[in-house]
Amino acid sequence: MKPIRVVESTTVVLPNANVDTDQIIPARFLTVTTRHGLGQRLFADWRYDKEGNPRPDFVLNQKDTRGAEVLVAGDNFGCGSSREHAPWALLDYGFRAVVSTRFADIFRSNALKNGLLTVVVDEETHRALLAEPGIEVAIDLEAQTLRLPNGKEVTFPIDAFARFCLLNGKDELDFLLEQESSIAEHEKTLPSS
């Protein structure tokens, strides 16, 4: 994975709370066996009508949101199913960070493992972001800050290990495999059944 330091982009705003992973990527698209190409299915049931035509009122179908890499989402984003297809779809579409007041546990874990930043901000900052779609923000992973166009900076928490892996382009699997001797040691203590 490529190291990630800064994401600078305009925002797309999807204010709904509790957006579940079934909305991010509906289950009928999960019979794929690779992780690529899911971007065109992102938010499929909100984005397209029954005939498959784009719904003009959905935010991703509006011209001025093209190319934006930061999604500002409502509270508790990514709840529901554990499907990693959700961050895969967001990344494949072109998002590199999601900003919210809260993320569901499994979604956050999946997102960070794929290089999709999950940025938790306070309610006041969140309100400001929701109120002004399309503003330019800068997310600095190293400093753990999100900067608004008026220069205001807020810090965000992120797990130290996930941050280290993302900043250095490290793979968690490598780390796990290096633990082989401790794992083997632990296995000696297991009950036989």
Partner: protein, 488 residues
């Protein structure tokens, strides 16, 4: 071990457990599986006892193993089945199984190849042990108290009913477990859900968990492992306990657990993969030490008196939007999320749900498709007919459940009533296999998610118990089963 297991998060006060040496059920299981405790820089390295695998969330993980030339570290701790996209219609006369499309079939074939290549036990279609992954684990006796159990599926929380620490993971983590039998995890907080009293007649474990989720909210459990405690839990059967733990994830929880007791041990005794002979006695001694040492060890807690609960039903588009079946819908003034949900559902604030017509009734899923669920439903269908114009699917959770139901003659009751008796699988819970709602259709479903489109694009779901589902099937309108069966 004590200090080493501390979380390293600066803002956290040491829990009472650390001060006194007492432990919760969760902490006992967590500590016993620590290959390495967590610190500021690195999450804990947690050993996984059992890894369950299904067709949808595993192919990309096996690909990583192949790309990196890795083996499955402990294939004997890994068990696979196929359930999500598999058809629930029986094979044709020529034995051919017809899938929804080529992609669904190829995903299932991919699982077969992966299991063969990596030496993993698979219960495929046609095996008498195939079924929904969270139904077959307990059935086999694979799920045991004190274990860590993971699966690329959020309803892995089901297995917590046995006092296991069981949780859903993503596909990258599926790869981690395949390759290393371990996961990197931050230690979650604990949340005691105290359930006191006895459930009234006609109120089921499903109603109980819907009431809990309504109370704490769909993110009430985020970052926490729930432990269901109290006299009510002790009075529940294993299957009822599984129904409750199953939906822990719908409150956002990492996992849900219940202390094992004689009900647990009786369920497990003589299951094919449970320990036998001296190993059983040894295991039993271990399992009896698992319950929490004291009542006062939890980071958070909430209590619920269950003896006044009513049958619950959801009205909106997440499982927290639930009300007692006889109550009117809440007022949504100035609540945009609620308004949006009701708009999707085609409902109005303040209206009653009782009597609302439905098109489909789905009795199935890892929440409510075990034999006791089918018995509850059959009891309503017996001597009655499905209302005209209503489609009813009854989908067993596993081949074993289906066989048992057929032995008891439940299949005949369902068929004679006019319901479809289908092959086991996830079916209309997730609508990946062609069993789905048409846009705009209403369903009462015994599954666990009422998200927009979950049961088919544009479909509208009311989650409820098997009793409510069956009662609704015979009247064609949302019905309180107690009106049909009586209240005593």
């Amino acid at each position: 071990m004590l200090s080493a297991a501390s979380t390293g998060k600066g803002d956290e006060k040491p829990s009472k457990a650390k001060a006194t040496g007492s432990r919760t059920l969760f902490e006992k299981v967590w500590n016993a599986h620590l290959v390495r405790p967590e610190n500021q820089d690195t999450p804990a390295l947690l050993y996984v006892d059992v890894h369950l695998v299904h067709e949808v969330t595993s192919p990309q993980a096996f690909d990583v193993l192949r790309q990196r030339d890795l083996r499955v570290r402990r294939p004997e701790r890994t068990v696979a089945t196929m359930d999500h996209s598999t058809p629930t219609s029986p094979p044709g006369a020529d034995g051919r199984i017809v899938f929804l499309d080529r992609q669904a079939e190829s995903q299932v074939r991919q699982l077969e190849r992966n299991c063969q290549e990596f030496g993993i036990r698979l219960y495929p279609l046609g095996s008498d042990r195939q079924g929904i992954v969270h139904v077959i684990g307990p059935e086999l006796g694979l799920t045991q108290p004190g274990m860590t159990i993971v699966c690329g599926d959020s309803h892995t929380s089901t297995h917590g009913a046995f006092g296991a620490l069981a949780f859903g993971i993503g596909t990258t983590e599926v790869g981690h477990v395949l390759a290393s039998q371990c996961l990197l995890q931050r230690k979650p907080q604990t949340f005691a859900i105290r359930l006191n009293g006895t459930l009234p007649v006609g109120v089921t474990a499903k109603d109980l968990i819907l009431a809990v989720i309504a109370k704490i909210g769909v993110h009430g459990g985020t970052g926490h492992v729930l432990e269901y405690r109290g006299s009510c839990v002790r009075s529940l059967s294993m299957e009822e306990r599984m129904t409750v733990c199953n939906m822990s994830i719908e409150a956002g929880a990492r996992a849900g657990m219940m202390a094992p007791d004689d009900v647990t041990f009786e369920y497990l005794a003589a299951r094919p993969l449970a320990p036998q002979g001296p190993a059983w006695d040894e295991a039993l001694a271990r399992w009896r030490r698992l319950p929490s040492d004291s009542e006062s060890l939890y980071d958070r807690e909430v209590s619920l008196e269950v003896s006044t609960l009513e049958p619950m039903i959801t009205y909106g588009t997440n499982p927290g939007m639930a009300i007692p079946i006889g109550s009117p819908l809440p007022d949504t003034e100035r609540e945009p999320a609620m308004e949006k949900a009701l708009q999707y559902m085609g409902l109005k604030p303040g209206q009653p749900l009782l009597g609302h017509p439905v098109d489909v009734v789905f009795i199935g899923s890892c929440t409510n498709a075990r034999i006791s669920d089918l018995r509850l439903a059959a009891n309503v269908f017996k001597g009655r007919k499905v209302a005209s114009g209503v489609r009813v699917l009854v989908v067993s959770g596993s081949q074993q459940v289906k066989k048992q139901a057929e032995t008891e003659g439940l299949d005949r009751i369902f068929r004679e009533a006019g319901a479809e008796w289908r092959e086991p699988g996830c079916s209309m819970c997730i609508a990946m296999n062609g069993d789905r709602l048409e846009p705009g259709q209403y369903a009462v479903s015994t599954s666990n998610r009422n998200f927009e489109g979950r049961q088919g694009s544009g479909g509208r779901t009311f989650l409820a118990s098997p009793l409510t589902a069956a009662a609704t099937a015979v009247t064609g309108r949302i019905t309180d089963a107690r009106e049909i069966l009586g209240r005593s």
